[in-house]
């Protein structure tokens, strides 16, 4: 691997990311899967970086999942998106930041489509007006929330209490970065670093002390793929993809996986349990899995937040071995205590995957 070669490609794909005044839209599913991530993002933006970030409780789904599942036509998805833009316009913002990769891809696709076919935009404006009497301006900048963390990765690093370094050996942690497919595969120029070697997460990992590993199936989908998972008959295919990725990264002995998509961390995390049940195979050390994190969780960890406040107890794969490796202190007793210190009950432990 020639690092300079990759750097050259990264330099070719730099995108403009607004500095401040962001209009934030949440993901449909992340709050269920990794409930603290979006909260942590807002906290980092506001408290750590001191930025203006606004969110509006009236926004809905972007329609992306339904669109990709072929259950709604693109015009419908566009009208939904137009409404989101109208909310942003009403709030007086111009920088649109999406928490979800599929939303980000959906927005990018719609904006590109409108650019190519302006008559479609006009039509959508009419439809939005008919539907809810709203008007909108297109955002000046469109960013994914990981773009913002990427932009301020070095500020976060300066304030970091921990680094992605094995405290015993002093070696950088081996990190697998997994980018959501809709981040830049559709429009390489819309993602930091392009589609082939997206830099958005690699940049964070490098700033925070880790080492990104480049394994053969790095480009491969996590296996979610909407229709693949949503239809039970197709789930074998969904897990086959995840399985392929783990088989490919296994020789590199990764310490952790960092992702920037709502579905990916969920599937990379949960399917490890299913694979362990089906095949009896685990990919981490000593029968554990490879812990999977969202970038917000990782940012929270390096900034010194309490792992349980970050919601890490909701992961299937135990995070404790990694926390130990980095040297992050945590209270095992409070793992299953809610914010109100009440017991949220322990999950049943799987047979093959070691989970503390």
């Amino acid at each position: 691997m020639i690092y300079q070669g990759k750097k050259k490609i990264w330099s070719d794909y730099q995108k403009e990311i607004p500095d401040d005044h962001w209009y934030y839209v949440r993901s449909c599913i992340r709050q269920n899967f990794f409930p603290a991530s979006e909260k942590m993002f807002l906290e980092i933006c506001r408290d750590v970086l001191g930025k203006d970030i606004y969110e509006n409780e009236h926004h809905t789904t972007c329609g992306g999942i339904a669109y990709h599942c072929d259950t709604i036509p693109q015009e419908t998805a566009m009208t939904i998106v137009a409404r989101q833009f109208a909310l942003m316009t009403e709030a007086g913002y111009k920088n649109y930041v999406a928490s979800c990769i599929t939303s980000f891809g959906n927005y990018s696709e719609i904006l590109e489509t409108w650019r190519e076919f302006p008559e479609l935009e006009t039509k959508i404006r009419e439809m939005l007006w008919k539907a809810c009497r709203k008007e909108f301006n297109k955002p000046e900048y469109l960013a994914h929330s990981s773009d913002l963390i990427y932009k301020f990765r070095n500020e976060i690093a300066e304030k970091a209490r921990f680094h992605l370094i094995n405290k015993d050996t002093g070696e950088p942690l081996r990190v697998v970065e997994h980018i959501g497919c809709h981040y830049s595969k559709m429009f390489p120029s819309k993602g930091v670093g392009g589609a082939e070697y997206p830099y958005v997460l690699t940049g964070m990992v490098e700033s925070w002390g880790g080492n990104v590993i480049d394994y053969p199936e790095r480009r491969h989908c996590c296996g979610y793929g909407f229709r693949q998972y949503h239809v039970k008959a197709n789930r074998g295919y969904s897990i086959a993809n995840t399985h392929k990725k783990f088989e490919s990264m296994e020789p590199y002995k990764p310490d952790m996986i960092i992702t920037n998509c709502p579905g990916c961390p969920y599937f990379l995390d949960r399917w490890q349990y299913v694979i362990a049940e089906m095949e009896g195979k685990t990919y981490g050390q000593n029968g554990y899995g490879i812990p999977v994190f969202t970038y917000e969780e990782v940012a929270g960890l390096v900034l010194g937040y309490d792992p349980w406040d970050l919601g890490l107890q909701l992961h299937q794969v135990a995070v404790e071995p990694l926390l130990d490796k980095i040297g992050i202190e945590y209270d095992p007793a409070s793992k299953y205590l809610g914010t109100n210190r009440k017991d949220i009950m322990r999950p049943e432990l799987p047979a093959n995957l070691k989970c503390h």
């Binding site: 691997m1 070669g5 990759k6 050259k8 490609i9 480049d214 394994y215 053969p216 790095r218 480009r219």
Partner: protein, 339 residues
Amino acid sequence: MKEIIVIIGGGIAGLEAASQLLKLGYSPIIVEKSDHLGGHVSRWNKLFPDMTPAQDLLSELIMSSKDANIFLNTAISSMNRLKDSYNIMLSNGISIITKYILITTGFRLFDASKKEEYGYGVYDQVITNADLEHWFNNGNDGRIDNSQMNAIGFVHCVGSRDEKARNTQCSKVCCITAIKQAIELKERFPDAQIYCFYMDLRLFGKKFEDFYIKAQKDFGIHFIRGRVSEVSENIEGKVIVKAEDTLAGKPIKVTLDLLVLMSGMVCNPDSTRTAGMMALPIDSDGFLKSSDNVFHITSSPKQGIYYAGACTGPKTVPETLAEARSAVLEIHSHIIGKE
């Protein structure tokens, strides 16, 4: 008085034209930007289909054109049209007035690193056809392990027939070059499995089909119909190539010790620059546009300006040489006609 003819580009087209012009009693001037003559051929090892050493061809060409006026390390600074001639300013300060200009600026190899998914410049074991020829010539390339080679791959059409690479034309010579290089590698590494990933095999020339059959039968080279989709590096530093075997209708994957990208021919930016000076038209494929593509392939729309070789599109060596002779004949008949 001897007629002066300026030849822009000292590749094989320029050299052959100069040698023919000398024979006809004219006074050719070769303007070459680099420090050596012969262009791409000077870095090539052997030429298909007879495996002629490129150096033999080149020394013969240089020998027969040695009486021409040759300016190396010289670029064209400007050009402008006088009444019935052209004034050319060279970067070395010399200015020439001539009635006839022959553009033989040739092509440039497609920059393989633009096909990011193939990892040229990122993976250690990915090289181009030009790199391989260079290795054949001097045996010196850190990316090629002389002792151990189990599997080698060739990707045809890198940057050719590819809208995403902004080149829709076929580079014409890569298929046969890939077969030639595959055979040469198999001769050096007889135990290695060699795979050629192709979209179409476009082998049109004399003896090319024999070459193909020889590659299949005598050298056991595997031809896989399917364009490589992506290349990765595994933990041992080998490259993993993925494609669809379209004839089997199945995805295919293979681990290789070396991957050779058959970079195609694209128009030389110097051609475009030179054309810009004289407002010469550029064709949709990016190459210089001839008066027409059937009857007057060596003529430009401007009087006194002629083309030869790959500046008008991908060509083989024999085609380039033939075109150089043809252009010389055009110039000659034009001069005779005027007298």
